[in-house]
Structures are given as C-alpha cells and as structure tokens.
Symmetry: C2
C-alpha cells in the first residue's frame, strides 16, 4: 500500500494516525519540497494537488482521508476504527464530519489567512495568487471557539469523540485541535473534558505517526 | 425512517435526491419556519442545528448527508449508490468530497456572504451576528469557476461524476451547480460535458425530490 504523504500537512497526519491505530505497514512517499510546495511531478500525477493520496496497484489514485480510511477498513476490518455496525458507523461519520468542518477547516482558514507564507500564494500548480482576507481570521477564531466548546460538551459524556472507542473522529479532532494551536488558539481552561481527552489521545503512540 | 427536512435547504435536497434514487419511502418532517429560520424545538432536539437529520427508532439523531446515506445504503443495498465494491466506494467518496468542498461549500460561501438575508444573521439558535465578508464573494466565485471546469474535465471521460453509474457524488454535484446558479454563477459555455451531464441528471425524477 503506497501513500503519497507530506510530513508537515494536517490531512496527511490525520491519515497516518488512522493507519498507525490500524497497525498496518504502509510505504510513504514524501511529495513536499524544501520550498514548502508540492513536487511538480506529484501535481501532474494527481491534479487535485492534495495530500494524502493512496495509489492502488492498478494505478487508481484515491484522495481524501475518509475515502482512503474507508478503503483500508474494508480490506483490514480489525480493529474497527469507523464503527462496528451501521448505527455506529453513522455516528462516527457524523462526528468526524463535524470535527473536519467545524475544527479542521476553521483552523485551516485561520492559518491560511494569517500566516505570512500565504500572502501571495495561489493553489498548488497555479500562478494566480489567492489573497488573504484578514476579516476571515477573526471569524475563524470564533468558529474554533465554538468547535472547542461543542466537543468539550460531547466529551463530557463520552470517553472518545464518537463514543466509548477510538475512531477516525478522534484523529480528525486531534489534528484540528493541534492545528488551531499553531495559530495560538488553545483549549480554553474551562474545557476540562476536552483537555482530558487531548491528553489521553496525544499519549497514544499513533499521535506521533 | 424519519428525516427532519427543510424544503429550501441544499443539504436536505442532496439527501432527498439520494433517497429518491434509492426508491425507499421516508417520512419527512419540515423543520423550517416561514421566517426562514429553524424551529426552536428542532434546535433543542438537535443542537448541531443542521439539516437534514435522521432519527432512529432508539432516538439517536444522525446528521450529515454522508452519514445518513451510508446508513441507508447498509440497510438497503440495492441499488448501490455509493459504489459496488471497496475500490468504487473509495472513488465515489473522493469525488463526493470534492463536489462538497469545492462546489457546495463554495456556493454556500458566496450565498452566505452576498445574500441580504444574512447581513446581520448569526448561527441558528444564537443571538451573535456573523458579519458578511464581501471579499469572500469574489474568492468564492473563483472557487466555483475552478470547480465547474474541473468537473467538466472529469465528465469528459465519465458519464457520471464518479464513473459509469449514478452515485451520491452526482447528487452533491447537482446541488452544488444549482446552488451556485442562485448566485448567478452558471455553467460556462465551454463546459459542454458538464452541461450534458447537468441536463441528464436534472431530467431524472429524483432531481425534483
């Protein structure tokens, strides 16, 4: 199984954590360059220009963490990390999507519109710059605050994000929380359930994958 | 099966189209009010305050179209609308995610930041307004232009978005294209493959579900 990876990326980490919890051996191919851009050969190979990406033996390129995780789960069902039955899978998918949209996309919005590296940067493979919008940073901080409080409430009643077991929803939430921290948005002191959970999942070996 | 629905919403339509293609009977409960806000009782019942939502017999509330669609597909596998095997399911999930993020979220960004109804509007159930950011409209138009051209290229080589069969990726793409049109972003004349596809999928009975 060959995964195209970028060691500094958030979505690549999200998948590496999942695969580490799954306990399977994977060949990782680094596609980020020293100038913090994707290698041109990779953009040509996979024009979506996103990481991570799974290349199948027949040459098919599968992007998107959820798509790759679902494929891996079908081939290697144990341990189940997307839920053990239809009901659990639906609950995991719901919380994973909330973590992605309210947490990870909000953290990306803040980082993308605040970090100096993106001032005159366009999409990978494109020369057209996409300007930063400072007003988006403030909005993203609000989104992240709501995300952290919502997940704190969920973790008051659940050991993990989607119930009593570790799932992909925990990988996505962990990546979102840690990504927000790179823009100085940290877990508020009153969010004790989230802090307890963060300590627990960060101590698992998968967190450093 | 009881679905909480808002007839004017884009994600509710995305699910209704999927369920119509699946051919199963569903009880829909309208949760939108005449003032174009969610009913307070619904926000209390489902604090994510999002539609659509599937309520299971045991009272569990499942939100997110993909989560609901996955659940329905497990209970009613025929016709398969998320792919027929692990490889197809991965490809459908990838394209569905791209349609959602590059198409539907971009169209929502444009609509949310341009439409007068959202000038002083906050999140459902919240009194805090989230101001519009006019610069986002221009950026969203750029995103939508790239989305339409990318999917046109994909549809040059595929009858449907994720291959030779109709899948959830087509529902999401159709909802994104039609939602963009509400902000006057239409299919460019040179995108003939996308136009051909749009005519085909719009003619299916599910499109008016």
């Amino acid at each position: 199984m060959k995964i195209y990876d970028w060691h500094i990326g958030v979505n690549p980490r999200r998948l590496r954590i999942f695969l580490a919890e799954k306990g399977i051996e994977v060949e990782y191919v680094e596609v980020g360059q020293k100038d913090r851009r994707l290698a041109p050969w990779y953009i040509e190979k996979y024009p979506h220009a996103l990481v991570p990406m799974l290349e199948l033996d027949d040459g098919a390129c599968i992007g998107e963490v959820r798509a790759i995780a679902g494929y891996v789960e079908e081939l290697h069902p144990d341990p189940p990390l997307l839920g053990r039955n239809a009901r659990e899978r639906a609950i995991v998918a719901m919380w994973e999507q909330r973590a992605y949209e309210e947490g990870l996309l909000a953290a990306a919005e803040l980082f993308r519109n605040a970090h100096p590296a993106f001032i005159d940067r366009g999409l990978p493979g494109s020369a057209d710059p996409i300007p930063q919008i400072p007003a988006l940073c403030e909005r993203a901080r609000g989104r992240l605050g709501r995300f952290l409080r919502k997940f704190d409430a969920q973790l008051a009643e659940n050991e993990f994000v989607a119930g009593p077991r570790w799932t992909l929803a925990d990988a996505t939430t962990l990546c979102a929380v840690d990504f927000a921290q790179r823009s100085d948005v940290t877990i508020p002191p009153e969010c004790r359930n989230l802090a307890r959970w963060h300590e627990t999942v960060s101590a698992r070996p998968s967190a450093t994958a």
